[in-house]
Amino acid sequence: MQDSTRSKPAWKRRLLGLALSTGLGFTGMAGAAEVNTTGLAVTDDTVQVGILHSVTGTMAISETGSVEAEKLAIEQINAMGGVLGRQIEIIQEDGASDWPTFAEKARKLLVQDHVAAVFGCWTSASRKAVLPVFENQNGMLYYPTFYEGLEQSKNVIYTGQEATQQIIAGLDWIAQEKDAKTFYLVGSDYIWPRTSNKIARKHIEDVLGGTVVGEEYYPLGNTNFGSLINKIRLKKPDVVYSSIVGGSNVAWWKQLKAAGITADRQTIMTISVTEDEVLGIGGENMEGFYSAMKYFQSLDNENNVAFVNAFKERWGDDSVIGDVTQAAYLGPWLWKAAVEKAGSFDIDAVAAASADIELTTAPEGYVKVHENHHLWSKLRVGQWQADGQAKVVYESELIEPNPFPEGYQ
């Protein structure tokens, strides 16, 4: 293997203005033994990391964006000279949309390959399956998806939003904007929608003084929303609050449109539709409805423009970037910053150094890691346009992550 860090000037390639606010000046080359006391896959020139997403099976359509973003970030970091002077090498494994497979592959990455970090997982179920593996084998996982909270681990950095960050500010905005009093909660039947709606209900009833006129769950993959649509017509809630996920979304939004429920007649806010889903649903079916997310591809700032251009250059002009894809992109950068702050690849050192890491160059804007290993982030409300992009109509202040919200349990 060639010593790529020395044979070619690392700064040769023009970079996208992506520089980290911490640890950039690290130029001294420490020996592998010094920066790696626990036998990770680190040599004087390279460091190995894992990418663990589903590239086959039903989740592949969602997780592919995350894989692409993580690879892009790693390539950019390598072009800048790598991490502690070491080029990052990727070992990719397929979780195959199957939670036990995720656990098996996570074990393989940690026990056999001794990777220094893993970027991966998407669904809560896959994260729950690998969590004990990461805790027992002491590995580092960067998890990109917005999720239900109620979890915190030394071994995980959650780069997406936990439920309170995504829900409370969005509800506040819509209650004020639409003068909403009655809410109808709908979701897919698993832990994330149920927990999210639990938080939403508490907030609607206790803080906003509104009422929840209905709360319903449908199995994952459900495609018949006729009865739900009838109930919505009957109850006429001010806001329908949706956390229906994945493929069900296509049926749900198309059937709404077919039933004549359009945005000018019914306000609907969803916390589970990103640009990726809109690609499948069709922008014309989503037009005028709202999504509450921390990131939209249309964000108008320098970092994001550079990121979107780089992403399209690398993965094709017709690729779209959703909330999770952006969060996945942060993973390698946050890891690099933590390693350089710690001056070591050791998991314990990286975990300890992660708190208070800041990125000023994230596409979503300023980002900071809380000591609970979640990110401070903003909440944005986007209104979908016919072209499949969202117009950002509201942006909150930075919100503190609070994975164990008191009073919402």
Binding site: W99, P100, T101, R107, P132, D189, I191, Q409
Partner: protein, 380 residues
């Protein structure tokens, strides 16, 4: 002595079993690291299901596409016991209701459901692992076979049952952990099941249980009941007209296969450290049938090799070709079924064993009466 050898399938079968035992208990542990060994242990848990399928599909002619349900019963029983132990009030002090599993707390369940109470006791758990699937198989069997539902119809019904079971588990997430399954299992009566030493021990336990199941299987097949089973598969009406209750014969073998699967499931939960509905559903149930078909559906020991090889291929291929492996697996299945309809056991019988037979004296082969009928069976 000879009587006993004949009762357990004859010398030939016992030698094959011994060879398998040496491979599993001596050779593999000495050559593999603990990570691979643990994976192997996981594959072996599927072998329990495949062995059960050889009995009920290969010899009984009852194709069940719902064996995952039994695997799941064993797995969930064991996982529930382990989860309760991991959810001691000290471990779960941060929850709104300490002392119950974490997913119940997330789902606003405030006290332990009745269904979970028996799983405080290990002995009761073990009893349930063995009796619940037997009872369930008996109920299904009684409902189906007494009405003479069989063949394709039975296969479809078992598949529907697997589908129903998954939907139930996912839907009742407050009681079952839903689609996440039951995760983060830690100790068995205070003994940590996660470190390497425990993985070794569990692996050996799993191998020994598998060998016991194989012995039981061979005993059943060599008995009078085994002959009846084969007779029933080939000429059901004749057996019925001879005065036998065909339904009872079927129920027994179906229940036995279910209990084997459940033991596999329980060992799975112990070795892998969690249980999820993806091991109950239709896809996994069909996969189990494939393990059995690859191994050779008329060979108990072949089923073990089938489960091992298919899973090994799955792991190796998916590590080397993360995006294409599933295509290779499909090609492998189609290839095996087209070229070797009797599976690995067929290859062994047709190509390998004749060579062996020439190596050793002819006498020892012809003397082996107990095996003869089964060997002919395999070739027919």
């Amino acid at each position: 002595m000879d009587k006993w050898i004949a009762a357990f399938g004859g010398r030939q079968r016992l030698m094959q079993l011994l060879a398998l035992a040496v491979l599993l208990l001596v050779i593999l542990p000495l050559t593999l690291d603990v990570f691979r060994l643990n994976l192997l242990g996981k594959y072996l848990t599927y072998a329990f299901v495949a062995v059960g399928l050889v009995l009920c599909w290969g010899y009984g002619g009852i194709l069940s596409l719902g064996q995952g349900v039994f695997f799941g019963m064993g797995g969930y029983c064991m996982a529930m016991f382990l989860k309760l132990e991991a959810s001691s009030p000290e471990n779960t002090a941060i929850q709104s209701t300490p002392g119950i599993p974490d997913f119940m707390d997330w789902n606003q369940v405030t006290e332990l459901p009745m269904m979970w109470v028996p799983f405080h006791s290990l002995s009761l758990t073990v009893v349930l692992i063995l009796t619940v699937p037997a009872l369930f198989a008996f109920l299904i069997g009684a409902a189906m076979f007494k009405r003479r539902v069989g063949g394709v119809y039975f296969a479809i019904i078992t598949q529907a049952i697997a589908s129903i079971a998954t939907i139930l588990i996912i839907g009742q997430q407050g009681y079952t952990g839903g689609i996440n399954g039951i995760t983060d299992l830690r100790t068995l009566l205070g003994w940590d099941i996660r470190p390497d030493s425990a993985k070794y021990l569990l692996y050996f336990l799993c191998c020994i249980l598998l060998i016991v199941c194989l012995l039981i299987g061979q005993f059943v097949l060599s008995s009078r009941y085994g002959k009846l089973l084969i007779a029933m598969r080939d000429q059901e009406d004749r057996v019925r007209f001879s005065g036998y209750d065909v339904a009872n014969i079927k129920i027994f073998v179906f229940a036995l296969a279910g209990v084997f699967s459940a033991i596999g499931g329980a060992m799975f939960a112990l070795q892998v450290g969690f249980m999820s509905p993806s091991f109950v559903g239709t896809v996994v149930s069909i996969e189990m049938v494939i393990f059995c078909a690859v191994g050779g559906r008329l060979s108990l020991i072949g089923a073990v090799y089938g489960a091992l090889l298919v899973n090994l291929a799955k792991t190796m291929l998916s590590e080397s070709f993360p995006q294409l492996w599933i295509v290779f697996m499909g090609a492998l299945f189609i290839g095996v079924v087209l070229l070797f309809p009797q599976g690995l056991a067929g290859i062994y019988e047709d190509y390998v064993r004749p060579r062996f037979a020439n190596l050793f004296s002819r006498k020892s082969v012809t003397k082996d009466n107990g095996d003869k009928s089964v060997a002919q069976e395999a070739q027919s």
